[in-house]
Symmetry: none
Subunit: 153 residues, 2 copies
Amino acid sequence: MDLFVSKYINKIDKKGRVSLPSSFRNVLPKANRNEIILYKSIKTPSIEGCGVGRLKEIAKRINNLDFFSEDYDDFSTSIFSEIVTTNVDKEGRFLIPEELKLYAGIKTEVAFFGQGHFFQMWEPKQGLKNTEDARRRLLKEKKSLRMMLTQQK
Amino acid sequence: MDLFVSKYINKIDKKGRVSLPSSFRNVLPKANRNEIILYKSIKTPSIEGCGVGRLKEIAKRINNLDFFSEDYDDFSTSIFSEIVTTNVDKEGRFLIPEELKLYAGIKTEVAFFGQGHFFQMWEPKQGLKNTEDARRRLLKEKKSLRMMLTQQK
DNA sequence: CATATACCCATTGACGCCCATATATTCCCA
DNA sequence: TGGGAATATATGGGCGTCAATGGGTATATG
Protein backbone atom coordinates (compact mmCIF):
# COMPACT_ATOMS: atom_id res chain seq x y z
CA MET A 1 0.00 0.00 0.00
CA ASP A 2 1.50 3.31 -1.04
CA LEU A 3 -1.21 5.54 0.35
CA PHE A 4 -1.75 7.02 3.78
CA VAL A 5 -4.94 5.43 5.09
CA SER A 6 -6.74 4.79 8.38
CA LYS A 7 -6.39 6.72 11.62
CA TYR A 8 -4.24 6.34 14.71
CA ILE A 9 -3.84 8.12 18.01
CA ASN A 10 -0.32 8.21 19.48
CA LYS A 11 1.18 9.81 22.57
CA ILE A 12 3.76 12.57 22.72
CA ASP A 13 6.49 11.66 25.23
CA LYS A 14 8.39 13.93 27.62
CA LYS A 15 10.92 14.75 24.94
CA GLY A 16 8.18 15.78 22.54
CA ARG A 17 8.55 12.71 20.36
CA VAL A 18 5.65 10.92 18.71
CA SER A 19 5.63 7.74 16.66
CA LEU A 20 4.69 8.04 13.04
CA PRO A 21 2.25 5.13 12.59
CA SER A 22 4.04 2.15 11.14
CA SER A 23 1.77 1.91 8.12
CA PHE A 24 2.55 5.55 7.33
CA ARG A 25 6.26 4.93 7.54
CA ASN A 26 5.88 2.22 4.97
CA VAL A 27 4.36 4.69 2.53
CA LEU A 28 7.55 6.72 2.52
CA PRO A 29 10.08 5.70 -0.13
CA LYS A 30 12.71 3.35 1.34
CA ALA A 31 15.32 5.96 0.47
CA ASN A 32 14.03 8.98 2.39
CA ARG A 33 12.27 7.06 5.09
CA ASN A 34 13.90 9.10 7.82
CA GLU A 35 12.62 12.54 6.83
CA ILE A 36 9.16 14.00 6.40
CA ILE A 37 7.82 17.47 5.77
CA LEU A 38 5.13 19.20 7.80
CA TYR A 39 3.09 22.34 7.20
CA LYS A 40 -0.04 24.03 8.46
CA SER A 41 -3.21 22.86 6.81
CA ILE A 42 -4.71 25.75 4.87
CA LYS A 43 -8.34 25.10 5.66
CA THR A 44 -8.26 23.45 9.05
CA PRO A 45 -6.46 23.77 12.38
CA SER A 46 -4.36 20.72 11.67
CA ILE A 47 -0.91 19.83 10.45
CA GLU A 48 -0.37 18.09 7.15
CA GLY A 49 2.56 15.87 6.39
CA CYS A 50 4.08 13.76 3.69
CA GLY A 51 7.37 12.51 2.33
CA VAL A 52 10.03 14.85 1.00
CA GLY A 53 9.48 13.65 -2.55
CA ARG A 54 6.34 15.69 -2.65
CA LEU A 55 8.29 18.80 -1.78
CA LYS A 56 10.47 18.39 -4.82
CA GLU A 57 7.42 18.26 -7.04
CA ILE A 58 6.15 21.44 -5.46
CA ALA A 59 9.52 23.09 -6.00
CA LYS A 60 9.43 22.13 -9.65
CA ARG A 61 5.96 23.55 -10.08
CA ILE A 62 6.86 26.85 -8.45
CA ASN A 63 10.05 27.08 -10.44
CA ASN A 64 7.98 27.06 -13.60
CA LEU A 65 6.24 30.28 -12.63
CA ASP A 66 7.56 33.57 -13.96
CA PHE A 67 10.60 34.18 -11.85
CA PHE A 68 10.05 37.92 -11.58
CA SER A 69 6.32 37.83 -10.95
CA GLU A 70 4.65 38.55 -7.67
CA ASP A 71 3.03 35.15 -7.71
CA TYR A 72 6.41 33.50 -7.69
CA ASP A 73 7.35 35.29 -4.49
CA ASP A 74 3.99 34.73 -2.88
CA PHE A 75 3.96 31.01 -3.54
CA SER A 76 7.57 30.60 -2.71
CA THR A 77 7.21 32.44 0.57
CA SER A 78 3.93 30.86 1.57
CA ILE A 79 5.12 27.38 0.89
CA PHE A 80 8.86 27.05 1.39
CA SER A 81 9.13 29.24 4.43
CA GLU A 82 6.15 27.54 6.06
CA ILE A 83 7.28 24.01 5.42
CA VAL A 84 9.48 22.33 7.98
CA THR A 85 11.39 19.13 7.58
CA THR A 86 11.63 16.72 10.47
CA ASN A 87 13.81 13.71 11.02
CA VAL A 88 12.29 10.38 11.88
CA ASP A 89 14.52 8.36 14.21
CA LYS A 90 15.19 4.65 13.99
CA GLU A 91 12.20 3.90 16.16
CA GLY A 92 9.98 5.86 13.79
CA ARG A 93 9.50 8.88 16.03
CA PHE A 94 9.79 12.58 15.18
CA LEU A 95 9.39 16.01 16.77
CA ILE A 96 6.54 18.38 15.97
CA PRO A 97 7.74 22.00 16.03
CA GLU A 98 6.16 24.05 18.80
CA GLU A 99 4.59 26.51 16.38
CA LEU A 100 2.77 23.75 14.54
CA LYS A 101 1.56 22.16 17.76
CA LEU A 102 0.13 25.51 18.80
CA TYR A 103 -1.58 25.94 15.44
CA ALA A 104 -3.31 22.58 15.82
CA GLY A 105 -3.92 22.77 19.54
CA ILE A 106 -1.92 19.58 20.05
CA LYS A 107 -0.61 18.88 23.54
CA THR A 108 -0.13 15.30 24.71
CA GLU A 109 -1.65 13.18 21.96
CA VAL A 110 -1.83 13.29 18.20
CA ALA A 111 -4.48 11.82 15.94
CA PHE A 112 -3.14 10.77 12.55
CA PHE A 113 -5.59 10.68 9.64
CA GLY A 114 -4.62 9.12 6.36
CA GLN A 115 -5.56 11.33 3.40
CA GLY A 116 -4.19 9.32 0.52
CA HIS A 117 -1.11 11.13 -0.70
CA PHE A 118 -0.61 12.98 2.58
CA PHE A 119 -1.83 12.75 6.14
CA GLN A 120 -3.20 15.12 8.77
CA MET A 121 -2.36 15.44 12.44
CA TRP A 122 -5.05 16.73 14.78
CA GLU A 123 -5.67 17.25 18.45
CA PRO A 124 -7.64 13.97 18.90
CA LYS A 125 -10.99 15.43 19.94
CA GLN A 126 -11.03 18.07 17.26
CA GLY A 127 -9.94 15.55 14.70
CA LEU A 128 -12.71 13.12 15.44
CA LYS A 129 -15.23 15.90 15.44
CA ASN A 130 -13.92 17.02 12.08
CA THR A 131 -14.43 13.60 10.50
CA GLU A 132 -17.97 13.48 11.83
CA ASP A 133 -18.66 16.93 10.48
CA ALA A 134 -17.19 16.04 7.13
CA ARG A 135 -19.36 12.97 6.82
CA ARG A 136 -22.42 14.90 7.93
CA ARG A 137 -21.78 17.58 5.34
CA LEU A 138 -21.50 14.98 2.62
CA LEU A 139 -24.78 13.32 3.53
CA LYS A 140 -26.57 16.59 4.07
CA GLU A 141 -25.55 17.87 0.71
CA LYS A 142 -26.81 14.64 -0.71
CA LYS A 143 -23.48 14.00 -2.26
CA SER A 144 -23.62 10.40 -3.19
CA LEU A 145 -21.09 8.98 -0.85
CA ARG A 146 -22.20 5.54 -1.85
CA MET A 147 -21.63 6.17 -5.52
CA MET A 148 -18.30 7.73 -4.79
CA LEU A 149 -17.24 4.58 -3.03
CA THR A 150 -18.64 1.99 -5.39
CA GLN A 151 -18.26 3.38 -8.88
CA GLN A 152 -15.46 2.03 -10.98
CA LYS A 153 -13.21 4.15 -13.10
CA MET B 1 17.03 17.82 1.43
CA ASP B 2 18.60 20.05 -1.17
CA LEU B 3 16.19 22.96 -0.82
CA PHE B 4 16.07 25.93 1.51
CA VAL B 5 12.93 25.42 3.57
CA SER B 6 11.42 26.61 6.83
CA LYS B 7 12.20 29.77 8.74
CA TYR B 8 14.63 30.57 11.53
CA ILE B 9 15.41 33.64 13.62
CA ASN B 10 19.05 34.03 14.69
CA LYS B 11 20.92 36.68 16.64
CA ILE B 12 23.68 38.94 15.40
CA ASP B 13 26.53 39.02 17.91
CA LYS B 14 28.73 41.95 18.92
CA LYS B 15 31.09 41.20 16.07
CA GLY B 16 28.28 41.26 13.55
CA ARG B 17 28.27 37.53 12.99
CA VAL B 18 25.12 35.50 12.47
CA SER B 19 24.73 31.74 12.12
CA LEU B 20 23.48 30.46 8.82
CA PRO B 21 20.86 27.90 9.90
CA SER B 22 22.32 24.43 9.90
CA SER B 23 19.76 23.08 7.46
CA PHE B 24 20.67 25.87 5.04
CA ARG B 25 24.35 25.05 5.28
CA ASN B 26 23.55 21.52 4.28
CA VAL B 27 21.95 22.75 1.07
CA LEU B 28 25.22 24.26 -0.07
CA PRO B 29 27.43 21.93 -2.12
CA LYS B 30 29.97 20.16 0.13
CA ALA B 31 32.69 21.79 -1.94
CA ASN B 32 31.81 25.48 -1.54
CA ARG B 33 30.16 25.19 1.81
CA ASN B 34 32.14 28.13 3.15
CA GLU B 35 30.96 30.77 0.72
CA ILE B 36 27.57 32.25 -0.10
CA ILE B 37 26.39 35.14 -2.21
CA LEU B 38 24.07 37.90 -1.06
CA TYR B 39 22.17 40.59 -2.92
CA LYS B 40 19.30 42.97 -2.38
CA SER B 41 15.91 41.54 -3.15
CA ILE B 42 14.43 43.48 -6.06
CA LYS B 43 10.88 43.50 -4.84
CA THR B 44 11.17 43.56 -1.10
CA PRO B 45 13.31 45.18 1.61
CA SER B 46 15.13 41.95 2.24
CA ILE B 47 18.40 40.28 1.38
CA GLU B 48 18.49 37.20 -0.77
CA GLY B 49 21.18 34.59 -0.54
CA CYS B 50 22.25 31.30 -2.01
CA GLY B 51 25.27 29.24 -2.89
CA VAL B 52 27.62 30.45 -5.59
CA GLY B 53 26.39 27.73 -7.93
CA ARG B 54 23.04 29.42 -8.14
CA LEU B 55 24.58 32.35 -10.02
CA LYS B 56 24.34 30.51 -13.31
CA GLU B 57 20.64 29.94 -12.80
CA ILE B 58 20.10 33.63 -12.08
CA ALA B 59 22.00 34.54 -15.22
CA LYS B 60 19.81 32.23 -17.22
CA ARG B 61 16.65 33.74 -15.80
CA ILE B 62 17.76 37.22 -16.69
CA ASN B 63 18.83 36.14 -20.14
CA ASN B 64 15.32 34.91 -20.77
CA LEU B 65 14.01 38.43 -20.43
CA ASP B 66 13.70 40.44 -23.62
CA PHE B 67 17.24 41.57 -24.28
CA PHE B 68 16.23 45.02 -25.50
CA SER B 69 13.74 45.75 -22.80
CA GLU B 70 14.38 48.14 -20.01
CA ASP B 71 13.80 45.34 -17.57
CA TYR B 72 16.76 43.47 -18.87
CA ASP B 73 19.18 46.24 -18.05
CA ASP B 74 17.47 47.01 -14.81
CA PHE B 75 17.50 43.49 -13.50
CA SER B 76 20.93 42.82 -14.80
CA THR B 77 22.32 45.89 -13.14
CA SER B 78 20.33 45.56 -9.96
CA ILE B 79 21.37 42.03 -9.35
CA PHE B 80 24.80 41.36 -10.76
CA SER B 81 26.47 44.57 -9.75
CA GLU B 82 25.03 44.30 -6.28
CA ILE B 83 26.08 40.77 -5.55
CA VAL B 84 28.55 40.28 -2.76
CA THR B 85 30.21 37.08 -1.68
CA THR B 86 30.62 36.28 1.98
CA ASN B 87 32.64 33.66 3.80
CA VAL B 88 31.05 31.30 6.24
CA ASP B 89 33.37 30.42 9.12
CA LYS B 90 33.86 26.98 10.65
CA GLU B 91 31.02 27.51 13.09
CA GLY B 92 28.71 28.35 10.21
CA ARG B 93 28.60 32.11 10.81
CA PHE B 94 29.04 34.97 8.35
CA LEU B 95 28.99 38.76 8.22
CA ILE B 96 26.22 40.73 6.56
CA PRO B 97 27.64 43.83 4.81
CA GLU B 98 26.48 47.06 6.43
CA GLU B 99 24.80 48.30 3.26
CA LEU B 100 22.65 45.22 3.00
CA LYS B 101 21.69 45.37 6.65
CA LEU B 102 20.57 48.96 6.14
CA TYR B 103 18.57 48.00 3.07
CA ALA B 104 16.69 45.37 5.03
CA GLY B 105 16.44 47.29 8.28
CA ILE B 106 18.26 44.51 10.09
CA LYS B 107 19.80 45.33 13.44
CA THR B 108 20.15 42.65 16.09
CA GLU B 109 18.27 39.68 14.71
CA VAL B 110 17.79 38.11 11.32
CA ALA B 111 14.87 36.04 10.13
CA PHE B 112 15.85 33.46 7.53
CA PHE B 113 13.11 32.34 5.15
CA GLY B 114 13.61 29.32 2.95
CA GLN B 115 12.55 29.98 -0.65
CA GLY B 116 13.46 26.72 -2.29
CA HIS B 117 16.54 27.41 -4.37
CA PHE B 118 17.50 30.50 -2.37
CA PHE B 119 16.63 32.14 0.90
CA GLN B 120 15.70 35.59 2.18
CA MET B 121 16.88 37.45 5.24
CA TRP B 122 14.52 39.92 6.87
CA GLU B 123 14.22 42.09 9.91
CA PRO B 124 12.10 39.57 11.88
CA LYS B 125 8.93 41.61 12.29
CA GLN B 126 8.83 42.78 8.71
CA GLY B 127 9.56 39.29 7.52
CA LEU B 128 6.72 37.72 9.41
CA LYS B 129 4.37 40.41 8.17
CA ASN B 130 5.50 39.76 4.62
CA THR B 131 4.69 36.08 4.99
CA GLU B 132 1.21 36.90 6.18
CA ASP B 133 0.68 39.36 3.35
CA ALA B 134 1.84 36.87 0.76
CA ARG B 135 -0.54 34.24 2.01
CA ARG B 136 -3.39 36.75 2.14
CA ARG B 137 -2.78 37.82 -1.44
CA LEU B 138 -2.83 34.24 -2.64
CA LEU B 139 -6.01 33.33 -0.80
CA LYS B 140 -7.71 36.53 -1.81
CA GLU B 141 -6.95 36.03 -5.45
CA LYS B 142 -8.17 32.50 -5.07
CA LYS B 143 -4.89 31.32 -6.38
CA SER B 144 -4.85 27.69 -5.61
CA LEU B 145 -2.34 27.43 -2.85
CA ARG B 146 -3.97 24.24 -1.81
CA MET B 147 -3.63 22.74 -5.26
CA MET B 148 0.01 23.67 -5.33
CA LEU B 149 0.48 21.66 -2.18
CA THR B 150 -1.70 18.67 -2.80
CA GLN B 151 -2.05 18.06 -6.53
CA GLN B 152 -0.37 15.04 -8.00
CA LYS B 153 1.79 15.15 -11.07
C1' DC C 1 49.49 50.91 13.33
C1' DA C 2 44.45 50.39 13.53
C1' DT C 3 40.42 48.23 12.31
C1' DA C 4 38.23 44.34 10.55
C1' DT C 5 37.90 39.49 10.03
C1' DA C 6 39.48 34.68 10.37
C1' DC C 7 40.62 31.02 13.60
C1' DC C 8 40.38 28.79 17.95
C1' DC C 9 38.20 27.45 22.22
C1' DA C 10 34.18 27.38 25.52
C1' DT C 11 29.26 27.00 27.06
C1' DT C 12 24.49 25.66 26.94
C1' DG C 13 20.61 23.47 25.45
C1' DA C 14 18.51 20.73 21.97
C1' DC C 15 18.53 16.76 19.35
C1' DG C 16 20.09 12.13 17.46
C1' DC C 17 21.48 7.65 18.51
C1' DC C 18 21.38 3.78 21.27
C1' DC C 19 19.46 0.50 24.46
C1' DA C 20 15.42 -1.21 27.13
C1' DT C 21 10.54 -2.83 27.93
C1' DA C 22 5.76 -3.92 27.37
C1' DT C 23 2.18 -5.05 24.49
C1' DA C 24 0.55 -6.67 20.16
C1' DT C 25 1.08 -9.31 16.00
C1' DT C 26 2.81 -12.85 13.13
C1' DC C 27 4.87 -17.16 12.35
C1' DC C 28 5.94 -21.75 12.85
C1' DC C 29 5.71 -26.22 14.43
C1' DA C 30 4.16 -30.07 17.16
C1' DT D 1 -5.28 -26.05 14.98
C1' DG D 2 -3.50 -24.53 19.46
C1' DG D 3 0.24 -22.62 21.75
C1' DG D 4 4.62 -20.81 22.27
C1' DA D 5 8.45 -18.37 20.15
C1' DA D 6 10.06 -14.72 17.24
C1' DT D 7 9.09 -10.15 15.52
C1' DA D 8 7.23 -5.61 15.31
C1' DT D 9 5.33 -1.50 17.38
C1' DA D 10 4.67 2.08 20.69
C1' DT D 11 6.89 4.05 24.40
C1' DG D 12 10.58 5.34 28.03
C1' DG D 13 15.07 7.08 29.17
C1' DG D 14 20.60 7.72 29.16
C1' DC D 15 24.09 9.99 26.97
C1' DG D 16 27.07 11.79 23.42
C1' DT D 17 27.08 15.12 19.66
C1' DC D 18 25.87 19.19 17.31
C1' DA D 19 23.93 23.80 16.68
C1' DA D 20 23.71 28.49 18.23
C1' DT D 21 26.13 31.77 20.68
C1' DG D 22 29.98 34.21 23.23
C1' DG D 23 34.58 35.74 23.42
C1' DG D 24 40.01 35.83 23.09
C1' DT D 25 43.71 36.19 20.02
C1' DA D 26 46.23 35.96 15.68
C1' DT D 27 46.38 37.80 11.14
C1' DA D 28 45.48 40.60 7.30
C1' DT D 29 44.75 44.72 4.89
C1' DG D 30 44.95 49.35 4.04
